[in-house]
């Protein structure tokens, strides 16, 4: 699975291709899970074939209703959400959404989650061999569900257990999405790698909250949510740098990308690829603009390949 080759670029421009443990991407910019639906929603506005990869919303074994409303609130330079991983479940996704995505050439990565290590493994097993799915992103970092999610991503023993059990159930490339809610991110990156992750991605949103001072009540029905958007980029960048230094496997950097500048910073810090999330809401064309911006930067710096840039941070 996932061994498709992407043709070399037709022009003499820089080589933007990236291969993430068998997921062949024509460029290093993917749509982050939770912010791009199942592709169909943005298809009238964005040529999906031009994305590096598309990571769909988190899928669990059975359909999930998610949290009560209100589910989102804006913060300065960010968005706090508590959707609660509402999704149609494995059957709903493969029957209702995957056929649409199969019409495109973009690598589809399915973000998966469960309420126990066994459930994670079972979802992964169900996707093993499903045509049209090039990889799995294991979400051990969602801050918005009471059981599972962030609990797995902040406990070294649980992280190891989830990744190891999931690994045994699938041959698909496994991207483990880490939580930023830990003191030593490198340690969790190493645990994921040691237990069979092919790639790690980070960061997920930060636990956060908003209060309506008139009613003195939390704005979100879930009380707390996850902060994403430009406000978190500098923190994400530091964590991506630390995680990339800790492992040999590729790293996908995300958190607050709004232009090629933040994306390039992640790559220089050590990311092989990046994902754009909240900025899709502000500008649905942002991913393609980031791709063009990276390409222009490579030309300006006389680099032949985006891969040359990964981990090129200059430390004196």
């Amino acid at each position: 699975m996932g061994k498709r080759k992407i043709d070399a670029p037709a022009t003499n421009g820089p080589d933007m291709r990236v291969n993430l443990a068998g997921i062949a991407m024509k460029n290093p910019v993917m749509a982050a899970s939770g912010t791009f639906g199942y592709g169909k929603e943005y298809a009238p506005l964005v040529d999906l074939n031009k994305l590096g990869a598309l990571v769909v919303k988190g899928i669990s074994l059975r359909p999930e209703r998610g949290n009560e409303t209100p589910r989102i609130v804006e913060a300065a330079g960010g968005l706090i959400n508590a959707i609660g991983l509402q999704n149609p479940g494995f059957d709903g996704f493969t029957k209702k959404h995957l056929p649409f995505l199969k019409k495109y050439k973009v690598p589809v990565i399915v973000n998966i989650w469960g309420r126990s290590a066994e459930e994670y493994a079972e979802v992964a097993g169900r996707f093993d061999g499903v045509r049209g799915v090039q990889g799995l992103e294991v979400n051990i970092s969602c801050p918005n569900i009471k059981r599972g999610g962030i609990a797995f991503g902040t406990d070294p023993r649980l992280t190891a257990e989830v990744v190891a059990k999931t690994r045994r159930k699938t041959k698909l490339p496994l991207i483990v999405k880490l939580s930023p809610n830990v003191t030593r991110i490198g340690e969790f990156a190493r645990i994921a790698e040691a237990n069979g992750a092919d790639v790690i991605s980070l960061i997920n949103s930060f636990p956060a909250m908003a209060i309506d001072i008139e009613t003195r009540a939390p704005v979100l029905a879930n009380v707390t949510g996850g902060l994403s958007g430009p406000a978190i980029h500098p923190i994400a960048l530091k964590m991506v740098w630390e995680a990339a230094a800790a492992v040999e496997i590729p790293v996908v950097g995300m958190g607050g990308i709004t232009s090629e500048k933040e994306a390039l910073a992640f790559i220089i810090a050590g990311a092989a690829a990046v994902a754009v999330g909240t900025a899709n809401f502000t500008d649905p064309g942002i991913i393609l603009k980031v791709v063009k911006g990276i390409e222009a930067y490579l030309v300006r710096c006389k680099l032949k390949s985006v891969r040359e840039l990964t981990g090129s941070l200059q430390l004196s």
Binding site: T69, I72, F281, P284
Partner: protein, 267 residues
């Protein structure tokens, strides 16, 4: 659905915190149906990461106008726009109002700037009907002249009695329906605060009429991807989430599961 960068043609005050903002729009404007909305990018500096949804008030061949109230940071930024300034428009979005059948008499109920969302419907309905506009005070009664100009009857209620009858739009709607209880087939349409929509729904059910309600929610993406703006709707004996941005914003009142929720105000 399209995106375009649109220039401001005009920004005018309607008194108080209400404004009308008109954009030159060649891509979105010609496609708008009554009750649909646009998603407007109000901040280029990334402080505000979300666009803002606004019902389309009026459309021309190459222009569209929205009516808004300054209530939060997004609308404060909008109020600073001047002719020639540019803003990103995405739309038209949502499913809009079904037009009333030719033999159906349309009754509209609006709370404050909700009147703007009903204007295109009134303009395109084959029969001219009545709009019941309610507000806290006289400043909150909007668009009355616009409806009169296209031949609609306008009935007004204010909570403080400063204009029209003292009370709510739904009070005068109820009075009207009690007098005309044997009237021909009618269709109700409403846009306004959630409490008002719920009252219109109760009136519709009591009178055996359909009511099409336009819901206003804080939205993330505007296209159905993020699931931030969901509303509980009936699904057999159970319920399911509907996306206000994509499955709505207009719902028939019997679809909605009414709860004592807190409804969002900030724009």
């Amino acid at each position: 659905m399209q995106t375009e960068t649109a220039s401001v043609i005009e920004q005018r005050s309607l008194g108080g915190d209400y404004r009308v903002l008109e954009f030159a729009s060649s891509k979105v404007a010609p496609r708008v149906k009554p009750g649909q909305f646009i998603h407007l990018r109000v901040d280029e500096r990334n402080e505000l990461v979300l666009r803002r949804p606004f019902s389309v008030f009026k459309t021309g061949k190459k222009s569209l106008a929205i009516l808004y109230k300054i209530v939060g940071r997004g609308t404060q930024i909008l109020a600073r726009l001047r002719p020639g300034d540019r803003a990103g428009i995405m739309g038209p979005l949502g499913n809009g109002f079904p037009l009333p059948a030719s033999q159906t008499f349309p009754l509209l109920a609006a709370g404050g700037y909700g009147a703007a969302a009903l204007y295109l419907l009134a303009q395109q309905a084959r029969k001219k009907g009545i709009i019941f506009i309610g507000g806290a005070t006289a400043d909150d009664i909007l668009c009355a002249d616009d409806f009169k100009k296209i031949g609609w009857k306008v009935k007004i209620a204010t909570e403080d009695g400063a204009a029209g009858q003292k009370g709510l739009a739904t009070d005068i709607l109820t009075e009207y329906l009690s007098e005309k209880s044997k009237m021909r087939q009618m269709a109700l349409y409403a846009c306004g605060p959630m409490g008002m929509l719920k009252a219109v729904a109760e009136i519709a059910v009591k009178n055996g009429q359909k009511a099409w309600l336009s819901l206003d929610r804080r939205m993330g993406c505007g296209v159905g991807a993020c699931l931030g703006c969901v509303q509980k709707v009936k699904d057999g004996k159970s319920w399911k989430w509907a996306r206000v941005c994509r499955d709505g914003p207009v719902f028939e009142c019997r679809q909605i599961v009414w709860e004592n929720g807190k409804w969002e105000k900030e724009k």
